[in-house]
Amino acid sequence: MNSDLPNSGLSTQADPLITATGIRKTFGPTVALDNAQAVLYPGEIHALMGENGSGKSTLLTILAGAQPADAGTITLHGRDLVGLTPAEARARGIAVVSQEPQLAPALTVGENIFLGRLPRRAGGVSWRETHRRAAEILAELQLDIDPRVAVSTLSLGRRQMVEIAKALADRPQVLLLDEATSSLDEADTRTLFALLSRLRAAGTAIGFVSHRMTEVMEHADRATVLRDGQYIGTRKLSETDEHELVSMMVGRDLKSYWHKASVAQGDALLRMVRVARGPLKSIDLTVNRGEIVGLAGLVGSGRSALLRTIAGVRPMEAGEMFLNRKAVRIRSPRQARQLGVGYVPEDRKGEGLVMHWSLYRNAGLSRVAALPVLAPISERIDRAAYAQGTQGLKVRTADPRQAVSELSGGNQQKVLIARELAITPDLLLLDEPTRGVDVGAKEDIYAQIAHLVRGGMGLMIASSELQELIGVCDRILVLFQGQIVADIPARDAREETLAYWASGAHLIGAA
């Protein structure tokens, strides 16, 4: 096996901790994995890379015993693991944080962390012990979360951290993270990687999937690339570069990551004057036709809250809002949509898609919802919406009639975006639109968006990927504690500047 890894110099002495070789997995006509492999050594951080639908999540679920492979072998410490079940995998020290949230929203954080293995004492579960140990683990992650609150009260990013805490509760020797950072902000991401390097030093084998190149370049020791379910190769990060990894993933060279829109801007499309609601305090902003405005800020800074207010999910409480120069009071998502506002929420599974519906139906939902109540509809509307919305997005599916739940995460995201593109909104609000989307697909999505912006659409994008915001936006607004603290033209923006404003450092400087 080591013959495949001529460069695995980092732990030449050690034997592999966990290996998967010749893995094959099919779902009906879809070949998800075909001769895939991954070899993880103790004390390494290993990135698993590939385009959307290349089989990364499937490989991790197989390693976690959540589903069986059709063929191939998995070894742990050189011993074959056959018929692995999730409970067994956990008992053997293999922990996984999966791509889609798996927490029970109604249960508390502590209960979720120890779900299925709550600390016991004579006569039942020891809640004191549960919460004490949960608090310990949360503290290790530098998380200020009360283990007694229900998970449903937490933001998506916080939930993700709880998922990670849950995986760590077992002190695993193999820790697998599937896009664990995709809904985290910079601060939590930093905390997480600091923790991962401590675990690495202690000999844990860490595998992680991420579509964020910078993250991989900065933190991984080695990277394995899959394409179309096949093993393409493994590289030491010290001996490769972004360019090589991307071309291994895509099978071609990508010229640039982003399409800068820079369109002649038209009239003011949206104007907000001293708008306030809940966490938002006195928001003033303008978005012009043909303009892409980015929203940067930490989790909880009000980025999502701002988009939700415009989208009518939580109506504004004070201030004025103008759309196309007309004063509006948006009270419901329905009304927002009638005014030409499209919205892609952050949580695609919880708030975006109907998971057991087909791609067609999901793509048609916003269009259908805009019709009068008794309007006749047919599959044709859905198909037309799908055709228009997915144009240029390259959704990878065996058949658009399959359930979206069967798609890979990135492809689900594309279907959700397609749903909104299908109604050609005037103003499109995107909350973390490229979460879990691969580099090539990001390019496709932004190219398509750039095309629409040229037609006079206005766009607001909230994202925690600063590099991406700088790449695609005309202007970036930075939010801090519910206020816009900076308004920076993207061409002048640098990541450090944005991070400076987002962290509230300007206040410390002033004090």
Binding site: Q102, P333, A369, L374, P376, S378
Partner: protein
């Protein structure tokens, strides 16, 4: 991890094409066919025209109630007040008739009153008051039955003299029982609304993912009001049919437990309490299955007390089968 959730959602897939539809209903449909074949071979009276018409006529009330409940269950709700609503509808109808209102206006007013009651109280409290559907409709189940008793003093009132009511419950049109024709028409209408209108699609969306539906621009509260209104309207129609067949209102015993047997039929037909799945074709198969089963039990001379046991066992078997098939 993801597979567990995805497998279970597979069972909720909305049938879109004929093959998926077939797979979906193969279980209950095949069981229905098997039951029919079995009864035809063992009970000589089973295939007689009169017996078949009898099965259809007695189950048309349950089917109409099941049509309404299909809407509610697909929207991820439940309406426990259907049986009581039907009883109250019968009492209300009898009151109107005896106080001199014409038969057709009385029929119309009864259905309208039920609809409004269901939409405003059930729908309003659930959709706008934020109350749990189980609590609201459970309370209404008690309340409406109580109202039926109070209004009527618990005494059945004969509706024998009013021809149109009799006709709806027991008449014949084109050689077919009127209630059966009515049930089929209502079923077809419900099927068409669910399948081919924007409203039907919103019911599936609300049941499938309420938040996603709202954010996509569906007025979720209004959809909820509508489904409870539809369920009550169907109960109103059931009330007319039942009163006509019994030639009297029966405040104490009419439609007792109707909501539960209709819900059982809807679940048999492929809907699930998780919401977002099911359809009226399936509910029709569910009603027929329960109806044929009850008929078979009677024909075979088994005490009718066994009917409940058989229904319960079939329901559990059907759902277990569905689980296994989804794996």
């Amino acid at each position: 991890m993801m597979t567990a959730a995805e497998n279970s959602s597979d069972t909720d897939k909305i049938p879109t094409s004929f093959p998926t539809l077939l797979r979906r209903y193969a279980g209950v449909g095949a069981a229905l066919v098997a039951l029919i074949v079995f009864l035809s071979l063992t009970q000589e009276n089973f295939l007689k025209y009169n017996n078949i018409m009898n099965i259809l006529r007695t189950n048309s009330v349950m089917f109409v109630a099941a049509v309404g409940l299909t809407f509610v269950i697909i929207s991820q709700g439940l309406d426990l007040s259907v049986g009581s609503m039907t009883a109250l509808g019968g009492v209300f109808l009898a009151e109107l008739l005896t106080s001199g209102v014409g038969a057709w206006p009385a029929i119309f007013l009864t259905i309208a009153a039920c609809t409004i009651l269901g939409a405003v109280v059930n729908g309003g409290l659930i959709a706008y008051g934020g109350f749990n559907f189980f609590v609201v409709t459970l309370a209404m189940m008690q309340l409406l039955r109580g109202a039926a008793l109070v209004i009527s003093n618990g005494v059945p009132a004969s509706t024998f003299m009013w021809d149109p009511v009799q006709w709806v419950g027991d008449g014949v049109v084109l050689g077919l029982p009127v209630p059966v024709v009515l049930a089929v028409l209502i079923g077809l209408l419900g099927y068409a609304v669910m399948r081919w209108t924007r409203f039907g699609r919103s019911v599936y969306a609300v049941g499938g993912n309420e938040t996603a539906a709202r954010l996509a621009g569906i007025n979720v509260a209004r959809v909820r009001v509508a489904v409870y209104g539809i369920s009550a309207a169907c109960a109103g129609v059931s009330a007319i049919m039942l009163t006509g067949r019994l030639t009297s209102s029966q405040p104490v015993s009419a439609a007792l437990g109707l909501e539960l047997s209709a819900a059982a039929a809807v679940l048999l037909g492929g809907a699930s309490f998780a919401g977002g799945s099911g359809n009226i074709g399936g509910s029709a198969i569910g009603v027929l299955f329960l109806g044929v089963l009850a008929n078979g039990i009677t024909l075979a001379g088994v005490p009718s007390y066994w009917q409940g046991i058989a229904t319960g066992a079939v329901l559990i078997a059907a759902i277990a089968l569905d689980r296994i098939r989804a794996k």
